[in-house]
Amino acid sequence: MNRARVARVAWIVLAAAAVALPLSTANTYYLYLACSVGLLTVVTAGLNVLAGLTGQISLGHAGFYALGAYGAAVGATRLGWPLWLAAMTGIVLAAGVGALVAAAALRVSGPYLAMVTIAFGIIVESVLVEWVSVTGGPGGIFRIPKVPLGRYYWAIAVSAAAALWLTANLRRSAWGRAFLAVKASEVAAESLGLSAYHVRIVAFTVSAAFTGVAGALFAFLNGYISPDSFTLQTSILFLLALLFGGMGSVAGPVVGSAALTLLPELLTALSDYRLILYGSLLLVSMYWLPSGLVGALARGPARARPTGSPTREEPWRFSASIWEHGAPDPLLSATGVGLSFGGVVAVADVSLAIQPRRIHAIIGPNGAGKTSLLNVLTGYYAPDTGGITLGGLSIVGLPPYRIARLGVARTFQTTQLFGDLTVRENVAVGLAGGHLGSICAALLGTPRARRVEAARMRDADSLLVAMGFIELADRPANSLPGGIRRRVEIARALAGRPEILMLDEPAAGLSPVEIEALDAELSALRDGGGPAIILVEHHMDLVMAVSDTISVLDYGRVIASGSPESVRENPQVVEAYLGAGT
């Protein structure tokens, strides 16, 4: 039996068990436990979007759980609203505050992000204790209207199933790929037109909304809530359940939630050792279960489902000029660009004019400032002096993703593929760029979103056919050898049909055969009406063979510029490369 079939059988068994439970028993203890598993599943499914897909850790999700619960409880008790309206209030409150917290929190990362989420959680907890008139203070809120457990069970079961279904849809959408792309390489994601900040805010808000749903359900399940249920420990428990079950996989949340809910119940005799149990579980999952229980049970890398078959009816066209009356000439021009780090001058007074449909090589000794120059042109560094215009418009000060959206694509000296994505998905990230569609459509997997997605996958396949490695389409990018990685990165950069493509040492690490292929590819691109190319390269045979213009950089300055022949004869260039006195 292959893994996909095992997974399907496991899901069917799980669904059957969920349906059979309330039909076979009316024992409220069992039903309550099952409901708790369901609620934790909703929370961890949401957290999975944040931690599993975008790689951000939140230690404050108990705060969103509290907002959902108190919003619903206050609505249903003090305001006397119908339950559905009260629940909606809690959910909207959690999602809204989630977006606000995200906007503040996601400007920072690592320990700083952990701090903001912890601080948020503690603020919520303290407000619950202090704002007695609304929250009931330390005593909490009593007599929240309850639905009979036998019926309420179904509401929670459906919510948990929906949470898993929505996150599964999300993973297969352009948003899901964007999340994973930002997690794998923020720098590369921005070079394709994705704003990492915006993408992370959306992920954070989605996870806050899910947690709010669980909170609202929790209020009506218990009939009583107090601040004790919403502490830092609760936030840690959420993360633990996700880690233990399996971060990043669809089934991880449900497995982890079941384990973390049932284990303490089975070990009630050891209740004094509960924290030791949690701490050890956390360490155990980090040491030995990097992909959780689910990952340990289903060994081997997840095989991506083939998302389409090669279509040859529509060959990939490299040109799709946004300029109606021919591209402006020069397309990109830099004048007097300078950049220094502290006292070290990386780029000094560099002027360049990039013409459409030409290959412009930038060469120079190591440390001459070539990559720094690319980073300035693509917005990763702001120049200290000088101006850069693209099609006549200044792009100085624009963030990388904005410059990318204007038609500037690039590759990196050390390839930055999105390792968890397949080759096809890597290219699809480039195809979508900043156009991710609506997040709700992605969650729901609407027919329209699916159609757009199918068309995008067909496009990706035509590009892969044109580049000559369609057979690798379903391979995860981190399983590829170096030479192919470089070419996939070029394909990904080309996917957005850029006006300018900047290649940073594309021949580094390639075999002579691969370099010949690259030579042919670059020439074909130029002759086929593709983008203008800026080529930073050390491999002189390649540079001399394909370039229309060469600029030579030394100590950050352009010391020569012109045709390959004129540059080759230039005495200053010879001196820079071979040293003085030769």
Binding site: A119, S126, L275, G279
Partner: protein
């Protein structure tokens, strides 16, 4: 009232600063930190209580044992929770050090009991009365010892050869390694030193707060807030932020309420990060492409 609040604010603030320096020390050497710093504070207080009150040991002996145990806790954390995840891309050490902290809390609970206990100190018997204000000698002692220790840490890093080596590791681990500095040992030392400072803070705070296994979490979080506000890379920023945080907390608690104290304090952290994402005196790290 006013003077009283200033004194207790400075006392607490100096301890937040001291514990926060512990975050800074390991962050600078290894870009990791012990999220269970607060539990090292708790360990210091609990072990001091157990040896002085429980076993009736003379104070110097108890102090030596307590501080040794605190430094050992730091070494253990580094070995168990940090080193295996040193090169992990995601902050796995964040979760693993939290795991060690909650285990430590549970162990303390089993050994010490859940109840909070008062730690007797000769400096908390009779309050000093100045005008209408009253405060304990301990509250004057604490910030003085705190400042002295901060000066010692500064001197260690700037005056002693080994301190300079640790600084070199902080500046450029690769180059430091090539110069023959044993990086893993440097990181371990940083963790021991960091937990040692937290342990001292625990001993100093024990007479002012109640000793309980649960006391660590909130102190650790406030110290973390102080480290973030000051800037993880900036020791002076952290010391200043420590006193500032202590004073603000003390005044909010005095004039508004103890509950508002937490809300204001942690809202302040978020506000600072929105305006200065790398802390008040921290440097924005260069973007690597």
């Amino acid at each position: 009232m006013y003077l009283q609040l200033v004194v207790s604010g400075l006392a607490l603030g100096s301890m937040y600063g001291l514990v926060a320096l512990g975050y800074h020390i390991t962050w600078a050497t290894s870009r990791t930190m012990n999220f269970s710093q607060g539990h090292a504070v708790m360990a210091g207080a609990v072990i001091a209580y157990a040896t002085v009150v429980g076993l009736g040991w003379p104070f110097p002996l108890a102090l030596a044992v307590t501080l040794g145990a605190a430094a050992g806790f730091g070494v253990l954390i580094e070995r168990v929770a940090v080193r295996p995840f040193f090169r992990a891309t995601s902050p796995a050490w964040l979760l693993s050090t939290i795991a060690c902290g909650i285990i430590a809390e549970n162990v303390a609970m089993l050994a010490f009991g859940k109840d909070a206990r008062a730690f007797p100190s000769p400096f908390t018997r009779t309050p000093i009365l100045v005008g209408g204000a009253g405060f304990y000698p301990q509250e004057l002692l604490v910030p003085l010892v705190g400042l002295g220790l901060m000066a010692l840490v500064h001197a260690f890093y700037h005056r002693t050869p080994y301190g300079k080596q640790l600084k070199a590791v902080a500046f450029d681990p690769e180059a430091a390694g090539l110069m023959g500095i044993h990086i893993p040992r440097a990181v371990m030392t940083a963790y021991a030193l960091s937990a040692l400072l937290a342990g001292i803070a625990g001993v100093l705070l024990a007479p002012l707060l109640n000793v309980a296994p649960t006391m660590g979490t909130i102190i650790g979080l406030k110290a973390f807030a102080v480290a973030i506000i000051g800037g993880l890379d900036s020791a002076p920023g952290i010391v200043i932020a420590g006193f500032g945080y202590g004073l603000i907390e003390s005044f909010v608690a005095g004039y508004v309420s103890t509950g508002a104290r937490e809300i204001v304090g942690f809202a302040l952290v978020i506000a600072v990060l929105v305006v200065r994402p790398w802390g008040l005196l921290g440097d924005k790290p260069a973007r690597r492409v």
